[in-house]
Amino acid sequence: MGQITLKQVRKSFGDVHVIPGVDLRIEEGEFVVFVGPSGCGKSTLLRLIAGLEDTTSGTIEIDGKDATYLPPAKRGLAMVFQSYALYPHMSVRKNIAFPLKMAGLDQAEIDRKVEGAAKVLNLNSYLDRRPGQLSGGQRQRVAIGRAIVRSPQAFLFDEPLSNLDAALRVNMRLEISELHQKLKTTMIYVTHDQVEAMTMADKIVVLQAGRIEQVGTPMELYKTPANVFVAGFIGSPKMNLIAGAEAAKHGATTIGIRPEHVQVSATSGLWQGRVGVSEHLGSDTFLHVTTDMGLLNVRAGGDVALYHGDTVWLTPDLAHLHRFDAKGLAIR
């Protein structure tokens, strides 16, 4: 149930090769997040899996069976769209019941399943409303409800939280994670937000220009990024990437050091710099320090009394230094 394998999947629109060839194996019950900057082909890849786009070449297997040429409805996958794509003229109940009605289930069975899904998602009191009368978060839940009633092999989420406000996004993130714990169904989730990726995923697939840059658990990506792109993309604030003479000292073309692995001192250290913007969050302080090697992000403790214009010394923690060669690949 719910194991998906992509073999050399390619997708071109005319001369534009959006996905030049992807191999990926998604295990049963996994929560996989496709993450990457906008235009990296992550949504296209999801739509290829869904069957909404035809693959140019390669095969897509679902549960060991070739599904490359199956129509979307026959793949046993359910999708939640960015715009929710609810049917505006139908009540919430009818929206959720629609896939069951299309499958030709009898009314009693449909009612039972809709009630069940509504209960899981706390939608019981809204069942007879129209989507237009619901808030963003409720619409999102209806869209998820419409997906779960079908008991699909896997759920596909296409940036489902990007239309919600920040507070609601955090909530829905938790709800979706909890839903995954409850259902234990494979989920594939597309986002450009690396915080969503880090917090929700069992496995993150980092994409750039249609290529898979790295696949791994959130911690693997954080601790051992395979290349400069992943190093810079995963983590917030971003990893400091330093090229030139300082990198050459460590036998690399580029070195990377995360903001939390830099010691700050007002008196002595390896690199001298001047504090630009300092963001005091209470728990942490983010310092933007101008040095000879460019702007460096530093994460210091909450009580650090450093402000704009102060001179500081920075010392990187060499145990956590990342080194990259001329091709941008990590040196281990």
Partner: protein, 290 residues
């Protein structure tokens, strides 16, 4: 826009237009109502004065009256059915990405730019003429006897001509409605296992409901008054086979020179139009609510 003074100013600024429009409407209506109660025949200018509503009884007693009402309704209904059904189909077709989409769309809209009598004459002389028309030629080629469209099926022929003229209007409105349907909604339905026909029935058609309502209401208003096409093709005949209410009024006023009876006919037409409007709003008006 809602302080007291701004509202007062708004009313003041609007009033000339409102008053002008009111006069524009009220004066002809009042005159028609007045004439409809008067003896007023252009051939007998000396006979004048109130005539006990004889204009109304005479108009309703006209042998062609019932036929005219039925013909008007059949014309309206026939054209509506053809334009809405074909309009949806053509809109679906030209909404597809196809080569030369721009020119195709302009061609589809072009009948709307042709003046009604011109269009009717083109159809009458170039297509439907039983000796020289293209349809007759086609029939001859197939070895069939040519069909005298305007003689044998006058009302159906007029419905065909009028439907041809109004099809672009319906197509255009339905096409824009179709284009406003989000593709994600259709994709969601596809994922939900709805085949194309069911996607059309459950997603597209409800989305089009409001536009279909607009098409039906606007076309009904204009179709009730169709006149030019009848005048240049069948002249209401043979007999009263293609006489509609407006054409009957024309006959009274300009062929029989009986302005009084024609005015009464106009009032009857207004009443019938209102009855139709009430039925229509009852039936489909709720589609216009958001």
């Amino acid at each position: 826009m809602s302080t007291q003074s701004s509202r007062a100013t708004a009313r003041l600024m609007l009033s000339p237009t409102v008053i002008l429009l009111l006069i524009w409407m009220i004066v002809p209506l009042a005159l028609t109502l007045w004439f409809s109660t008067q003896r007023y025949n252009l051939l007998y200018p000396d006979r004048q004065g109130f005539n006990d509503f004889a204009n109304y009884t005479r108009f309703i007693a006209t042998p062609a009256f019932t036929a005219a009402i039925i013909n008007t309704l059949v014309l309206v209904l026939g054209v509506l059915v053809i334009t809405v059904v074909l309009g949806i189909l053509i809109a679906l077709l030209i909404d597809q990405p196809l080569w030369g989409q721009g020119p195709v769309r302009i061609l589809v809209i072009s009948p709307f730019f042709i003046m009604p009598p011109v269009a009717a004459l083109i159809w009458k002389n170039m297509f439907m003429n039983p000796t020289n028309g293209l349809f007759a030629e086609a029939a001859k080629y197939l070895g069939l006897p040519p069909f005298d469209f305007l003689g044998a099926a006058p009302l159906a022929s007029i419905i065909l001509i009028v439907a041809w003229q109004w099809l672009p209007f319906a197509t255009l409105i339905l096409l824009t409605a179709l284009q406003s349907l989000s593709s994600e909604e259709l994709e969601a339905a596809e994922m939900d296992g709805a085949p194309p026909v069911k996607r059309f029935w459950y997603i597209m058609l409800p989305h089009l409901a409001r536009s279909i309502t607009v098409v039906v209401l606007i076309q009904t208003i204009f179709l009730m008054g169709i006149f030019g096409e009848i005048l240049v093709t069948t002249n209401g005949g043979p007999g009263s086979a293609s006489t509609t209410l407006p054409f009957l009024i024309y006959k009274e006023a300009l062929l029989d020179f009986d302005a009084g009876t024609a005015a009464a006919g106009g009032v009857v037409a207004v009443i019938i139009a209102n009855i139709v409007a009430i039925f229509l709003m009852r039936a489909i008006g709720k589609n216009l609510d958001a």
